[in-house]
């Protein structure tokens, strides 16, 4: 269980509800580790600024996280967290390992706007 202030995705069905019922979604799939925590914190801070985006996290080690682990976009990933950006249910961008505030906002602005 991740100890963050983000909504947690606990199952494949919650994941599919979230991405199919919202236009813009950012999901960070990781552990409570040093490369992941900074990304969760950035997402927590950006929630109030990007009202058009739904932010959530998912524990990398739960079986249902295979919806993210097995995405073709993550095939070459070897660093946590896996961060996925969905538009209308489709992956528009995926990143591996720690990202800075600048990295995240650049992707949000490019794909979702404010």
């Amino acid at each position: 269980m991740l100890r963050t202030n983000l909504p947690h995705i606990e199952s494949q069905s919650e994941h599919s509800d979230l991405i199919n019922n919202n236009e813009n979604v950012m999901v960070c799939c990781g552990r409570m580790g040093p490369m992941c925590i900074p990304v969760y914190e950035i997402m927590e801070d950006l929630q109030s600024e990007y009202k058009n985006v739904k932010f959530a996290d998912m524990d990398f080690d739960i079986p249902d996280a295979k919806v993210i682990r097995s995405l073709p976009e993550c095939r070459t990933f070897q660093g946590l967290p896996f961060t996925i950006y969905y538009k209308n249910g489709k992956v528009v961008k995926a990143t591996s390992s720690i990202q800075s505030l600048e990295d995240v906002t650049a992707i949000l602005n490019e794909h979702f706007g404010k």
């Binding site: 552990r31 409570m32 580790g33 040093p34 490369m35 992941c36 925590i37 900074p38 914190e41 950035i42 801070d45 095939r75 070459t76 990933f77 070897q78 660093g79 946590l80 990143t95 591996s96 390992s97 720690i98 800075s100 505030l101």
Partner: protein
């Protein structure tokens, strides 16, 4: 004035948070401005076993407690901000954030710590998370039965190399010098490990691959000879640099860009104090950062108290 504080602390690592706790508890109106994640390098540490009074705690947990403690005493913390300009020379210090909001204070404590040094080799940015990692405990299990390199020759490089042999089938340590900087104990442990081999006096100069890292170019520093080596992953542990770029030309720094302070954590500028890993010092630990933060906070509150007394006297006269 909403944006005016008695003291502004720059950085929310162990040093900055400690300063925040001491200042706010003493009813000194304090703002902490932090560029990255609250907790700083503590968050990079899976387990801290040498913080007195706490047998074992994750760095993240310890930083959360420090943050809550500071906030409970009334400290304001703003994280994930960028300081875009600052004026520390005047009596009233001014700091502008995100090119938008300017905060003022009587005193400033700099506690910006340090960050991992990058190799700076070609392709490093491209393969981050796709074969290049800076955290063994985070990404080690992606390299089960794989061949990996660890770059570095200090304590963390050798300690992490030994721990990564839990996963890797073969591990090569690449180090730029002909000897290690690590303590003998770490070197012995690595040398005893059958999975570990060494390439000394050499540097990785290029990372190569298509969708993920496939090989590296290694240059021998003595002969300049370049060889290519097939590899699944590279872990980089080559030390830390102080986060003091913002203060160059403003505060007195030494040749390694560390902040020079006196025993009260005063810098060369009146009303500007500094604490923690960004300072010139020999030992960088959570305990030493916490000690610096305490001293800087007490010095800053004395400074602010004297300033306020002087201005009240001036008004009374």
């Amino acid at each position: 004035m909403d944006n005016h504080f008695d003291v502004i602390v720059i950085g929310a690592g162990a040093a900055g948070l400690t300063a925040g706790i001491y200042l706010s508890r003493a009813k000194v109106n304090t703002l902490i401005l932090n560029e990255g994640v609250v907790g700083g390098q503590m968050v990079l540490t899976h387990e801290i076993a040498n913080y007195p009074g706490v047998e074992n705690i994750s760095g993240y947990e310890l930083s959360r407690i420090m943050k809550t403690q500071a906030q409970k005493f009334g400290c304001t913390i703003k994280s994930n901000i960028k300081i875009t300009s600052l004026d520390l020379t005047d009596d009233l210090k001014k700091i502008t954030v995100n090119n938008k909001t300017t905060y003022t204070a009587h005193a400033v404590i700099i506690a910006t710590g340090g960050r991992s040094r990058m190799l700076g080799a070609i392709g490093e940015d491209v393969f981050k998370g796709k074969g290049i990692s800076y955290c063994a405990t985070c990404d080690g299990d992606f390299f089960q039965d794989k061949e990996i390199i660890v770059v570095g020759g200090g304590n963390s490089a050798l300690e992490e190399a030994v721990s990564l042999t839990k996963y890797a089938s073969k591990l090569t340590i690449v180090h730029q010098f002909d000897h290690f900087q690590a303590l003998e104990h770490y070197v012995d442990e690595a040398k005893k490990n059958e999975k570990i081999s060494f390439i000394m006096e050499s540097k990785i100069i290029e990372f190569i691959g298509d969708e993920k890292l496939e090989s590296v170019k290694i240059q021998n520093q003595a002969t300049q000879e370049i060889t290519e080596m097939k590899i699944d992953g590279v872990f980089i542990f080559i030390g830390y640099i102080p986060n003091t770029e913002l203060f160059e030309g403003i505060i007195e720094l030494n040749q390694w860009k560390e902040i020079i302070v006196d025993k009260d954590m005063k810098t060369n500028l009146s009303g500007v104090f500094a604490a923690g890993d960004s300072n010139q010092k020999k030992y960088r630990q959570v305990t030493t950062a916490v000690a610096d933060g305490t001293i800087a906070a007490l010095s800053a509150s004395e400074y602010v108290f004297n300033k306020k007394e002087l201005s009240e006297q001036a008004l009374a006269n």
